[in-house]
């Protein structure tokens, strides 16, 4: 993460209330990204499972301070941050979630590429090709997402 300082927001692309797989529940851990567009790719990859339930959760990291970070040496591709908490506990700490279609519109109005056909077998390439966003831009996006959160 930039300068090893925890960013203000993290994002998780998934389906509504998805509990995570057995490992995430039992250990527990929740994978998030500080890059909202990369989180969108993960949500889009879920779209075929739940066309109306593919969403990006938004969380303020200061609300997650009671949970330990899980050190991830390999976070470059996904800008990943792990938290030692079950996904359902993470959702409870979130500001809410935004449906992928609404988030795509927010990104598009900001001139950010938001439309991709995402599958597991092209997710790495798409993450790799996603440009970095600076902290100011992410805050701007979150401000525009807030009215659309549920």
């Amino acid at each position: 993460m930039p300068g090893n300082k925890l960013p203000d927001f993290v994002f998780r692309g998934t389906t509504i209330n998805y509990p995570g797989n057995n490992n995430a529940v039992q250990l527990p851990y929740t994978c998030t990204s500080f890059h909202p567009v990369k989180a969108l790719w993960f949500a889009l990859e879920c779209l075929h499972l739940q066309p109306d339930g593919a969403v990006v959760y938004v969380a303020k990291t200061r609300k997650l301070s009671d949970f330990n970070l899980i050190y991830n040496h390999f976070n470059r591709l996904e800008n990943e941050i792990g938290f030692a908490m079950a996904p359902v506990d993470f959702y409870a700490c979130c500001e809410g979630y935004i449906h992928v279609a609404n988030f795509q519109r927010v990104l598009a109005t900001n001139g950010i590429e938001a439309y991709n056909v995402v599958r597991k077998d092209n997710l790495t390439r798409i993450c790799r090709e996603t440009p970095d966003l600076n902290a100011k831009k992410i805050v701007t996006l979150v401000e525009q997402m807030l009215p659309l959160l549920r």
Binding site: N22, H73, F74, N75, K120, D121, R128, E129
Partner: protein, 212 residues
């Protein structure tokens, strides 16, 4: 072409041992083993699952058929160093693989990296039973040469000098799970290319030259 629920591992790169050490203390490997960054799993894969064909790039073109090597999934780690009881669908993993008899040259030539990263020339390993030669044009363009060498070797290994069309297609089906119609077309192509010739009556034989 892979079946929808095929077991497949897409190997992005070799993993530097210094990178593996960040999450797993025992990085030692035998000569036929290695650590590899594996792309997001399309389907769940069990530990000790075995694979025997090699596919190249995003198009997953077959570059090595069954019989030349096999590979087994020994250890599967997630990005935090948790040892997984299997490779879950959707996970990217750091895995220890064991090849028999040796690590294929194409695998050895993969880059050594310290992270997961996109590699357009990533190699995938799969089980030959999950491969269908279901697209004849692709078969003709890309796979006839491999099929010829593989099948010739198979027949010679079984000391079969002459074979019927039915025998050939049946063997092709058992190895690659081709549909009969595609098997017929492959054989027809091999005959058109002079790789399989008529010996006598209904019996066929492989031509001597191996120009592929």
């Amino acid at each position: 072409m892979l079946r929808e629920k095929a077991n497949i591992l897409t190997i992005q790169s070799k993993a530097k041992k210094s990178a593996v050490k960040h999450i797993w203390p025992d990085v030692a490997t035998d000569a036929n083993q290695g650590w590899f960054f594996i792309d997001y799993a399309v389907n769940e894969v069990a530990l000790n699952a075995k694979f025997d064909v090699l596919l190249e790039g995003e198009s997953k073109q077959l570059i090595s058929g069954p019989g030349s090597f096999s590979v087994k999934l020994l250890i599967c780690l997630d990005q935090f160093g948790n040892k997984l009881s299997h490779m879950p669908e959707g996970y990217k993993t750091l895995c220890k693989l064991e090849f028999t008899p040796n690590i294929p040259a194409a695998i050895k030539k993969l880059p050594s990296l310290d992270q997961w990263d996109y590699n357009p020339r990533a190699l995938s390993v799969a089980d030959h039973r999950d491969i269908e030669l279901a697209t004849p044009d692709v078969v003709l363009n890309d796979l006839v040469g491999m099929v010829y060498v593989q099948m010739k070797s198979t027949f010679e290994g079984a000391r079969i000098n002459a074979f019927s069309k039915k025998d050939f297609v049946a063997r092709l089906e058992s190895v690659y799970h081709t549909h009969t119609q595609n098997g017929d077309r492959i054989l027809e192509s091999l005959m058109q290319l002079g790789k399989v010739t008529r010996k006598s009556g209904d019996l066929l034989e492989f031509a001597e030259s191996e120009t592929y």
